[in-house]
Amino acid sequence: MRGNSRLVAALLIVVTALLVQVTVLPHLAWNGVVPDLVLLSVVGAALVTDPRFATLLGFGAGLLLDVAPPADHAAGRWALALLVVGYVVARLAHDYQAAQPGPQPASTPRPPYLLMLVAGAGGAFVGTSLFALTGLLLQDPAVGVGALLEVVLAAVAYDALVAAVAVPLVVWVFRREPAPRVAHVLR
């Protein structure tokens, strides 16, 4: 998936993830901790697109998360966190795939399931930790490190769980070729 359709897909995924994250998931919250669907969709996108796109998507999605209604923290915190997540996950995934033996396929291959899980958990750890760290630096929510660590660990655990479903879903959407274009090419 290239160009505009990729952008549209990314936009749709991020907005949907945001809506689900603030409406549906609070009903499934565990101690108030909700899985970061937006973060996981950035991870998914990073696995199948190039690092540049993943970085920019992370920045944009984070910015949206920063200003969307329930948010009250300093804008830019999620943007920074998701930007780093997008960049790091995309870099590592691409380096991993480049190191794979055999000929490089033309299009991005479907990453192995285990890689998706690891990327989801790792991305969640990097993202939530960064977000918490910037909060500590800015003293945005004035909470102690202990309480912060507890929430971050719970969030990472929950994210890793949800990543098993969310990341493959996002990967599947990004690897789909839009049908009309295919028809056009065949004609």
Binding site: L18, L19, V20, V22, T23, V24, H27, T49, D50, P51, R52, F53, T55, L56, F59, G62, L63, L64, D66, V67, A68, P69, A71, A74, A75, G76, R77, A79, L80, L83, Y87, R91, H94, T134, L138, D140
Partner: protein
């Protein structure tokens, strides 16, 4: 524009890409882009954090909120029935159990609600007894009505749930908050039998409250029919007046009837023209069909649970 007539090269010149070109080929963001994004984030954070209420991010927040707010509300509205779904997926057993639990609760509440007026009435009775003790200055042993004798026995007696253990002896006076009830006939250790003043065998010495004329109050037997008490005055020529109060005359000690307990008031006066005498009918103060808390007048010095005068003034 010139035509290139050279034959195509069999092997293209090996092109060594610069690191930057290689990065772009692999889709890596350039360093400057990364730096710009990170700096943008940091700037945003600092600006938003330090400028507080009037930060430049506020308008953006508002606009995004205007767009996403209704979307979130819409998703929530759609979500409502879905979240309500588990409510519907319940077994009949669970529903039955719930109904049973709620029935129990309803029964409990209903019982409480029904008990409430009873408790209020009882408290009223006890307050009246207290007042009676204060007004008459007697020690009262509290007791509760426990049963009427049947009509077939042709006597108007009741039983109460206090007996010899509470210091009650035969021939003691029984009152309630309104006035005279009767006297004790027999006692067991925990119950007593009381002869009501409306019994046909009962005669109580009474006197008119105002004129202090003495007389006898006779029961006429029976509870329900009207005119249960007659007053015969010793002095035949005195004309009792309607509404005059009759109190007990009183005998020594505590029995059979202590002095000064209100019995009732004159409701009708009949004149026997031939004999030149008067017969008065009394309306008792006590409602004999709804007896509840009673008390027995006990002598001073009984070491039992009693209501003392001024106990609840």
């Amino acid at each position: 524009m010139s035509l290139d007539t050279r034959p195509p090269r069999q092997t293209p010149v090996r092109h060594v890409a610069t690191p930057r070109e290689r990065d772009e080929q692999r889709g890596l963001p350039t360093r400057s882009l990364l730096l710009a994004l990170v700096l943008a984030c940091i700037t945003l954070m600092v600006v938003d954090r330090t400028s507080g209420e009037d930060s430049p991010v506020e308008p953006v927040r508002r606009v995004v909120g205007e767009v996403l707010g209704p979307a979130e509300a819409g998703v929530n509205a759609v979500l409502g029935p879905v979240l309500g779904l588990p409510e519907m997926l319940r077994t009949n057993d669970a529903l039955r159990e719930e109904i049973a639990a709620q029935d129990d609760e309803i029964a409990e509440l209903r019982r409480e609600a029904h008990q409430n007026p009873y408790d209020v009435a009882r408290a009223e009775d006890l307050r009246a007894l207290c007042a009676m003790a204060t007004n008459t200055g007697y020690l009262l042993a509290p007791a509760r009505f426990s049963g009427y004798s049947s009509a077939q026995s042709f006597s108007s007696t009741i039983s109460i749930d206090a007996g010899a253990d509470a210091g009650i002896r035969p021939d003691m006076t029984v009152v309630n908050g309104d006035g005279l009830v009767g006297r004790v006939l027999e006692v067991t250790s925990h119950t007593s039998t009381v002869l009501l003043i409306v019994d046909a065998d009962s005669t109580v010495g009474g006197k008119l409250g105002e004129s202090l004329e003495s007389g006898f109050v006779d029961g006429r037997g029976g509870l329900a029919d009207g005119d249960p008490l007659d007053l015969r005055l010793v002095d035949n020529t005195v004309l009792p007046e309607q509404g005059q109060q009759v109190v007990t005359w009183g005998s020594e000690g505590t029995g059979p009837y202590v002095a000064g307990i209100p019995i009732g008031e004159v409701s009708k006066v009949y004149e026997d023209i031939r004999a030149g005498t008067y017969r008065a009918v009394l309306e008792p103060y006590v409602d004999f069909t709804s007896l509840g808390d009673l008390a027995v007048v006990v002598p001073t010095g009984e070491d039992t649970r009693v209501i003392e005068p001024e106990a609840c003034s």
